[in-house]
Structures are given as structure tokens and as C-alpha cells.
């Protein structure tokens, strides 16, 4: 599959909110090498045809779609993990741990799929397409790469849910987001502990501020931008109505 990732630029200012701005990554771009083009104005951008791109939407439904996107990403990743040779040859403890993560993320994914269907009711055209992913840069036979990627995804999940809580107006959804984010944090801690067992990394100073001991909270635009940097998300989408 040709790697063709769209990075979404999310302007902060309201006056840009109605304008979609995209950035195509070269298929040869390496993860984290900063080959992203900056996107200052429309003249620099090759906008793909609109029908190729969907927007996450507004309000609670937008946040649900956002969470669904993240859970699809994690579930797809762990599906590949448990089909890789690192996993099949791992210690029983590590195998079980990663199988648990696969189970949890697939459950989360299907939960959001069902919740979104319930939310949109008969308006089935509002259902967003299933996302495609390409983890081409990750070697699923290599423990270090698998765990390092898992760490990024879990920490990202924590930061994303922490940042999205304030965007929800239905208290029931806030509670469910809370029920899920703490499990993501439990995952992040466990993965970090696997990578560096005899350390404080499970709740490390790189994610928990030293002064106030607060975990990361990111707006959707920042999370989507970070995901664009990984090159994992193939299906283009925008989040023009989320901060």
C-alpha cells in the first residue's frame, strides 16, 4: 500500500475554522525527521478533493469520532502486534500483557462504533468511514520497536482523553471517557515498565510535570498533528470544529 499520509493543520484562530488546510507527506518521509512542510496559507497547499476527506464533526459527536479514530489506531496496532513474531516468542507475562492491551483496545473501538451509531440514529450518512493505517515503519518482529510504538500510542491516548474531557457536554460521555483514560494510563505505565523496569518511567518526568505532577493533556489539533508525524494514519480526515 502506498503510504500517503495527510497531516492536518489545525489553526487556532476562529477565522480559519471553516477552512481546511492539509499537508501531504511524501511517501518517503521518515518518521520524526521533520520533513513536514509547513502550511502557512492556502497557496502552498494541494487540497485533495473534498470527497476524499471527512471531518470529525462538532460537539460530543465530534469528540466521539475523535476517540473512535484513536481507538481504531490502537486496536489496529495491537492486532498487528499479536500477529507478529516478537509477540509469539515473548515471555508468557509479556504475551499476556500485550494480548490484554489488544483486547481492551478492540473493545474500546467497538464501543465507540456502537456509541456513535446510537448517537446518530437513523442519520447513517453521518457515520464516518473506517480508518486505514500503515505501520510500515514499525518492525513487528522487534521488541524494542513494538514497545516504543506502544508507549507513544498509549501516552498519546492519555493526553488525548485528558484534553478532550472539557469538550464534552454530556456527563455520561465524560464518565465513559474517564473510565477509558485511566485504563490507557494503566497501559502506558505497564509498557513503560516493560521498557525500563527498575525506574520511575511508569510515571516518568517526561510525561508527568515535576512541579505539579500533572499528566499531559492535549487538544485534538495537537494530537492529530502528532499522529501526522508518525505517518501511521492513511485515511485523511480533519477536525475543523475541534480545538
Amino acid at each position: 500500500m502506498k503510504k500517503n499520509v495527510i497531516k492536518v493543520i489545525q489553526p487556532k484562530e476562529g477565522r480559519f475554522n471553516q477552512r481546511r488546510q492539509f499537508l501531504k507527506l511524501s511517501g518517503f518521509a521518515l518518521v520524526g525527521t521533520g520533513l513536514l512542510m509547513s502550511c502557512g496559507n492556502d497557496d502552498d497547499v494541494h487540497n485533495p478533493p473534498d470527497e476524499d476527506v471527512f471531518d470529525l464533526g462538532t460537539g460530543d459527536l465530534g469528540v466521539l469520532n475523535y476517540a473512535f479514530a484513536l481507538e481504531q489506531l490502537e486496536a489496529d496496532f495491537y492486532t498487528k502486534v499479536v500477529n507478529g513474531t516478537y509477540w509469539s516468542g515473548a515471555s508468557s507475562t509479556e504475551k499476556q500483557l500485550l494480548l490484554d492491551l489488544y483486547n481492551h483496545e478492540v473493545n474500546h473501538r467497538e464501543f465507540f462504533s456502537a456509541a456513535i451509531s446510537a448517537e446518530i440514529g437513523s442519520n447513517t450518512s453521518a457515520k464516518r468511514p473506517t480508518l486505514e493505517f500503515d505501520f510500515g515503519s514499525v518492525n513487528f518482529n522487534d521488541r524494542t520497536q513494538v514497545l516504543a510504538t506502544a508507549k507513544v500510542l498509549e501516552d498519546t491516548g492519555v493526553a488525548a482523553y485528558n484534553g478532550a474531557g472539557r469538550l464534552l457536554s454530556n456527563p455520561d460521555y465524560l464518565v465513559i471517557a474517564g473510565k477509558i483514560v485511566s485504563v490507557e494510563a494503566r497501559h502506558a505505565s505497564a509498557i513503560r515498565s516493560l521498557i525500563n523496569p527498575d525506574s520511575a518511567d511508569f510515571s516518568g518526568d517526561d510525561v508527568v510535570t515535576v512541579n505539579n505532577a500533572l499528566d499531559v493533556a492535549l487538544d485534538p489539533s495537537q494530537v492529530i498533528s502528532n499522529l501526522g508525524d508518525t505517518g501511521f494514519v492513511v485515511t485523511p480526515f480533519t477536525a475543523n470544529s475541534l480545538p
Binding site: V158, I176, A185
Partner: protein
């Protein structure tokens, strides 16, 4: 503000059977051996309602005061643990030093937040982590290093898992306030801690059904009651797919449940003398 007064006020209903203070409750067991009686009291008994009470919503200050109370408890517990010499060097010491620093920071953060909101932070209570002699997590009473450390770990797990559930239970009370996001940022730190403590104890980092886990004293069950819920947003998550992700184990591990304010207060109250 006095902590006991606060805890009483925090209760959303005047649970009569529960109105008695901790001391009075314990007093009713006075004819029994104190130690045996205390060990038999579930964490949540003191104020365990027979049904779930709806909380008054939209009181961020009360939510933060509850959070501060729990942070005081954790902070002092880890500080005393680190001073006691019960925690082995290496991974345990590194881990609990980090957790201790975080809880101390949370105390300061919440106190400052409350003051910034014009509220007076609750005073730090006097704690009794032996619960009247039932436990000896710091080996103060000579239970022995090994047993003391086992009890320390068990209580640490109970406190962290309680913290995760309690913060989650307060989220809706913080909706629309500037404290929601910071509270979520603390909540996930507590979950990171909980996962690590559980793994040090040889358990999974996540809660399976409503199991407190091997080696956890029966009185800690109140921390885990209700964790076996599989209905999320009206959906039975064991039925939304097939295969291993939708077993009862996976479906309960994948979602942490809330504790109501009353339930969290009941658990914390067991360790509060005054």
C-alpha cells in the same frame, strides 16, 4: 475547616445508620477484640449505603476538597513508608519515591487551586494507617519487615485504585470548571501509579472483574466492588463483538468504574482519626 466536619458535610444524604463517627462505629465492636473486629470491617462499611445515592452535581469545591483529602492520605502514607525502612531498595524504592513526590505535589496543587478559587482547603487529618492495630505497614508495632512491606503494598494498591475511581467519580462535578482538565491530569497519574503498584504485587496493571487480587485483605474489597460492571453507556460491552476482547474479563478490565463521593469518603474515613 475541620476534616471530619467536611466529610460529614460532603455526604449527600444523611445516612443515619452511618451517622456515627468512625470511633462510635468501632465502639460498637468494643466487646470484641479490637484487632479482630477492625480487621473484619470492610473498608466501605462505615458509610456504605444500601443503594447508590445521586450526588449533588456541580460543586467543584467539594470535589476538590475530597480529592485533597485523598491526596493528604496518600502523601502521608508514602512519606511514612519511605521513612520506615520497610521498602526494599532498588525498584520498589525508586517507584515509591516517584509516587511520593507526585502525591506531595498534588497536595500543594490542590491547596493552591482551592485557595485560588477563594475556598479554604480542608486541614490535613490525623491518619491511622494501622486502622487501630489491624495493620502494621511501617513495622512500628513489630509485625516484621516482610509482613509490614506486604501490608504496605496492599494498602498502596488500595489507595491508588481508590484514587483512580474517586477522581473519576468527581469528574461530572467539575464539568464547566477550570479544574476539570487538571483533575483529569491527576487522575491519569494515579492510574499510572496504580498499574505499577499492582505489577510490583504480581498482578495485572488493570482490574479484572471486581477482584481485589491475590494477597489483598478482604476489608479492601470495597475498593473493587462494582468494577465488574459491563454496561457502558447503556451498551453491554460483552455483546458488541466476538472473541477474546469481549469476554467478561476483558470487558471489565477495559473500563475502570467510578466511586461515588460517599463511597470514597467511606474508604478514606477508615484511616482518619480526626
Amino acid at each position: 475547616m475541620n476534616i471530619i466536619k467536611f466529610l460529614d458535610e460532603f455526604k449527600t444524604e444523611n445516612l443515619m445508620s452511618v451517622k456515627a463517627s468512625r470511633r462510635e462505629i468501632f465502639g460498637t465492636f468494643g466487646s470484641l477484640g479490637k484487632r479482630a473486629a477492625l480487621a473484619a470491617i470492610p473498608f466501605g462499611l462505615v458509610a456504605m449505603p444500601t443503594r447508590t445515592y445521586a450526588q449533588t452535581s456541580g460543586d467543584p469545591v467539594s470535589a476538590l476538597q475530597l480529592a485533597l483529602t485523598l491526596e493528604y492520605l496518600e502523601d502521608e502514607f508514602y512519606e511514612l513508608g519511605l521513612q520506615s525502612g520497610v521498602i526494599p531498595g532498588g525498584r520498589p524504592e525508586i517507584v515509591f519515591q516517584q509516587i511520593s513526590q507526585h502525591e506531595a505535589a498534588h497536595v500543594e496543587f490542590l491547596r493552591a487551586g482551592l485557595q485560588g478559587a477563594g475556598a479554604t482547603p480542608v486541614e490535613k487529618p490525623t491518619f491511622d494507617f494501622t486502622v487501630g492495630g489491624a495493620f502494621d505497614p511501617f513495622n512500628d508495632n513489630g509485625v516484621g519487615q516482610e509482613t509490614a512491606y506486604a501490608q504496605f503494598l496492599a494498602l498502596a494498591q488500595a489507595f491508588e485504585d481508590t484514587g483512580v475511581r474517586a477522581y473519576k467519580g468527581q469528574a461530572t462535578n467539575l464539568m464547566g470548571s477550570q479544574f476539570l482538565t487538571p483533575a483529569l491530569q491527576i487522575h491519569s497519574v494515579e492510574a499510572r501509579h496504580a498499574s505499577e503498584v499492582r505489577r510490583i504485587r504480581g498482578l495485572k496493571g488493570w482490574i479484572v472483574r471486581d477482584e481485589r487480587g491475590e494477597g489483598m485483605p478482604e476489608p479492601t474489597q470495597a475498593v473493587y466492588d462494582g468494577e465488574d460492571n459491563v454496561i457502558q453507556g447503556g451498551l453491554d460491552v460483552t455483546t458488541i463483538g466476538s472473541g477474546s476482547p469481549f469476554t467478561i474479563d476483558a470487558s471489565t478490565e477495559a473500563y475502570d468504574e467510578i466511586l461515588t463521593g460517599d463511597e470514597a469518603v467511606a474508604i478514606a474515613s477508615l484511616f482518619i482519626v480526626s
